[in-house]
């Protein structure tokens, strides 16, 4: 069709190009400075860009990838606030991958707010100072006698006013001020920060405009499908390409040798065609023999068996040992021993992995929905033997991330195939590819022993964690910190870890580590509370009162626990038969969250989460309440959804392939969610992840309250929760 869908309008691989698009007379304020205490080229280095057109339209570059966390709106809000402009006059554009201009660009760890809260407000304030300096020079007045209103510099004494648009050209010639000289606004004077501001791309989203990686189109573009071995990293032993090549529309089919690194280019067979449907048909016609692979005997029951042996052997490396757990256990009034399990999970971003690549003029140009563009660029450069400066990565909007797109395997596949095809190529994975070639949330096994004294206080806590890894190397995202709660809240505490080998790729899934650890820790606290005859809220407050350091501020956590309990009318709500409330808290990503879930468990064991109360402390300022609530509600439902699905391994392969076998929660099962914030006097922190972990144990604890049945293994199984 020769039609180009330009989803990268305003995207740019370089600062020059971003700025060149601004039109004549535009002001470009370019900032490049190191963050406090950081080395000049260290990871805290930050750059941001503001452009003001003569008509007063402000263009603000958003440096990080947008994956649905709302960053393309919230980061520019910080700049716009201190620049002092009307949000209605702000346009935001997505930055290209350009670490020299923008520092580290990534979507992960809920880190954008804490990393940019001060820096991007300073960027805005610096721009405002330059506009005021320009007006002061024009009017020959002291800059201290000037103020601003949104988009206008004002000299009250002479009643003179000049718009930012009129001052822009001159302001661009001013020296950028010392950041330390900038006075930032009082929160009481905010006009943008704290306002419920819709996402900048909302209009494009609701009208179906091209935005996502998968929407990319280039002139002469071909489409690719890529078949990989179901056993991870198995090599191609033989391939009959003839039937694929005979499919109408197929241009080329070829074997890709690939390597052995699970997050790199894996072996496979590529089919390139005039349409994706033809490429996929060709791919289905392939006959590929895969080489034997040493991990092809691995299985989910096999892992469970190994874990049982490792627990029985009482081995394990000690990660932490405080006090004397064994003595405390034998002196306890009651002890509890419990085995917990959680399964592998898939990210299942709704937009399957995809990438468009074009090798031209010695350069590899890439359009990718990625959370981590720069390592993708390096991976492509290394794998294809192209100098990194000749690899250009454009970030597109991502149809979900959740950590999946921190890996750039699909990017290197597209680049390799495009070079081989000699044309621009869009690689699109099927859902089956996506679910069977993920970097899964690692499964895990925890053997707990704990005790309580006659007053119901916890006396000792031992956790033997069985996870995956070999030698000294833990599988990605499969570790547990020695500081993880309740370490440093109990005098007798120990954590041991054992590992077994794994051939399945793992990686961070939204609130990595926490999304699993919160389940087991907060459930076992509940077990000990019931063993000791102590109310679960009371038990948690007692524990929090015993902080001797620890990974977080126990007072802040106690605050959200009390608030969640109060809002849910904990202990005061009249509940029906098989209806119950459960509470849990968790600290992650600098955020303090406590949640109460109310569930009803049907006679047949079906669990319905009716309502969730969320109490959150993420500091003194919610930057965009509209986005903040959306993230919290999404995290809560995401967490509940994760309790109903699992990825299992058989013969070294993933058994699930699509949403029929790996279900995601649907609208009828979404609970009512009530969110309350504590505005503590702390710097604002991120909301992409920390609301998720507590909901899982809040629900399982509520199931116990409703049925007397303790869920120690996920996913939830109705058969185990049925009445009788």
């Amino acid at each position: 069709m020769g039609m180009i869908t330009n989803i990268t309008q305003g995207f740019s691989p370089s600062r020059r190009a971003v700025l060149a698009g601004g039109g004549a007379g535009g002001l470009v304020l370019a900032f490049s400075f190191a963050g406090k205490g950081a080395a000049a080229d260290g990871p805290a280095k930050l750059n941001a860009y503001v452009q003001i057109a003569p008509d007063g339209i402000i263009t603000i570059v958003s440096k990080n990838p947008e994956i649905g966390q709302g960053i393309k709106t919230s980061l520019p809000m910080l700049i716009a606030e201190e620049l002092d402009v009307d949000w209605a006059n702000v346009r935001t554009v997505q930055a290209g991958n350009d670490p020299q201009a923008y520092g580290r660009q990534f979507a992960g760890g809920s880190m954008a707010t804490p990393l940019h809260w001060d820096q991007l407000r300073q960027v805005g304030a610096a721009g405002r100072a330059m506009l005021m300096a320009a007006a002061a020079a024009d009017w020959s007045v002291d800059v201290a006698s000037l103020t601003t209103e949104p988009g206008v510099v004002v000299h009250a004494a002479s009643r003179r006013r000049a718009t930012y648009g009129a001052l822009a050209a001159k302001a661009a010639t001013q020296t950028a001020p010392e950041l330390s000289s900038l006075k930032l606004k009082d929160a009481a004077n905010y006009r943008i920060i704290g306002q419920p501001i819709p996402q900048v791309d909302t209009a494009a989203i609701v009208t179906g405009q091209p935005l996502f990686g998968i929407d990319m189109r280039l002139p002469g573009m071909l489409y690719a499908a890529y078949e990989k071995a179901p056993v991870f990293a198995a090599k191609v032993a033989g391939a009959d390409l003839a039937a694929a090549q005979a499919v109408k529309g197929v241009r080329k089919a070829f074997v890709v040798e690939g390597g052995t690194e699970l997050d790199g280019l894996l072996p496979g067979v590529a089919v390139v065609a005039d349409s994706w449907w033809a490429a996929n048909k060709g791919r289905q016609a392939l006959k590929v023999q895969w080489a034997d692979h040493p991990t092809s005997s691995q299985s989910t029951p096999g892992y469970a068996g190994q874990a049982r042996s490792l627990v029985a052997a009482k081995g394990g490396k000690s990660l932490r040992s405080d006090g004397d757990v064994e003595a405390a256990l034998s002196g306890s009034a009651k002890t509890v021993e419990a085995d917990y399990f959680y399964p592998f999970l898939s990210h299942a971003t709704l937009e399957p992995q995809n990438c468009t690549a074009h090798f031209h003029d010695g350069k590899m140009e890439i359009w990718a929905p990625t959370q981590l563009p720069e390592p993708g660029r390096q991976l492509v450069a290394k794998t294809l033997g192209i100098a990194p400066e000749n690899v250009i990565v454009h970030m597109t909007r991502s149809g979900g991330g959740f950590g999946r797109r921190l890996m750039n395997d699909y990017m290197v596949e597209a680049a390799w195939i495009a070079r081989e095809a000699g044309a621009p190529v869009k690689l699109v994975w099927t859902r089956e590819d996506d679910m069977r070639h993920d970097f899964y949330r690692p499964a895990g096994f925890h053997h707990f022993r704990g005790g309580v004294d006659s007053a119901g206080n916890i006396t000792a806590w031992a956790n033997h964690f069985v996870t995956f890894g070999e030698g000294e190397a833990t599988a990605r995202s499969a570790g547990m910190a020695a500081t993880e709660f309740p370490a440093q809240f109990l005098p007798n505490y120990k954590l041991d870890v054992s590992m077994m080998p794994l051939g399945v790729p793992t990686g961070p899934l939204r609130a990595p580590g926490s999304n699993a650890i919160a389940f087991v820790v907060q459930s076992f606290i509940d077990e000990l509370a019931h063993a000791g005859g102590v109310d679960p809220v009371e038990m948690r407050l007692r524990l929090l009162a015993q902080s001797s350091g620890g990974a977080f501020d126990a007072e802040r956590m106690a605050g959200v626990v009390r608030l969640a309990a109060e809002k849910a009318r904990w202990g005061k709500t009249t509940l029906g038969p098989r209806q119950g409330q459960g509470i849990a808290f968790h600290y992650s990503h600098l955020g303090y969250f406590a949640e109460v879930a109310q569930v009803a468990v049907a006679q047949d064991g079906t669990v319905k989460v009716e309502k969730v109360w969320v109490a959150a402390d993420v500091g003194r300022q919610i930057i965009n309440p509209l986005g903040a609530l959306n993230q919290i509600e999404g995290s809560v439902i995401d967490g509940i959804s994760e309790m109903f699905g699992e990825i299992t391994i058989k013969d070294g392969q993933v058994e699930q392939a699509n949403f029929d076998t790996f279900p995601l929660l649907r609208i009828a099962d979404a609970p009512v969610i009530e969110t309350h914030f504590i505005k503590s006097d702390n710097p604002p922190t991120g909301l992409g992840e920390p609301a998720l972990p507590p909901v899982v144990p809040a629900v399982t604890n509520a199931i116990f309250a409703a049925t007397g049945k303790r869920v120690r293994s996920l996913p939830l199984k109705a058969s185990e929760l049925a009445a009788g």
Binding site: M1, M3, T5, I67, G68, G70, P196, P198, Q199, D201, T202, I205, V206, T207, G208, Q209, P210, L211, F212, I214, R217, Y223, K248, S275, W276, W277, A278, A348, T349, L350, E351, P352, R397, S398, G399, G400, G401, F402, T430, R431, L626, G627, N630, E633, G634, S635, V636, I637, D638, S641, N658, F659, D660, L664, L665, R666, I667, A668, A670, I673
Partner: protein, 153 residues
């Protein structure tokens, strides 16, 4: 095979194999990429479009089955009175997170409200059951449907 399609009131031509799903004809042949690919097996609803006003999953509908049905995609939703209302409610409540599922959600909601201007919660659950939102914006999807129906909670 040459097919003549009526998409959003415009006659369009596509020369594709008869078994090609409407989804790929829209996206790759006609360049209408608003309709999304999520699963390919009618499980997620990302590909929802209307055929003569009824919601269908374009990923499982071969082009040979379209006949002379009038197809409406997200790109044509604003031209429908109900569609425009639904889009407005979606914008006002800022329903989307990543936004990828939302064209399908909006097409399903538009079909629901066209047939049932005052849906109950159960009606909403039934009509929207086929649309997954991985970002889990369900709370706002429900609220936006009610807003579009003029029955603000």
């Amino acid at each position: 095979m040459a097919y003549e399609l009526n998409v959003n009131g415009v006659t369009m031509n596509a020369d594709v194999d008869p078994d090609t799903p409407l989804l790929w004809v829209l996206r790759d042949t006609l360049g209408l990429v608003g309709t999304k690919f999520g699963c390919g097996i009618a499980q997620c609803g990302a590909c929802t479009v209307h055929a003569d006003g009824a919601p269908i999953r374009a990923c499982m509908t071969p082009i040979e089955a379209i006949g002379d049905a009038k197809i409406t995609t997200i790109e044509g939703a604003s031209a429908l009175e109900v569609g425009a209302r639904v889009q407005k409610a979606w914008s006002e409540l800022d329903v989307a997170q990543c936004g990828y599922c939302q064209p399908g959600q909006i097409m399903s909601a538009t079909a629901l409200l066209s047939q049932n201007p005052a849906p109950t919660d159960d009606d909403i659950d039934a009509a929207m059951a086929g649309n997954i939102c991985r970002c889990a914006t369900y709370v706002r999807i429900r609220a936006a449907i009610k807003r579009a129906a003029g029955q603000e909670a």
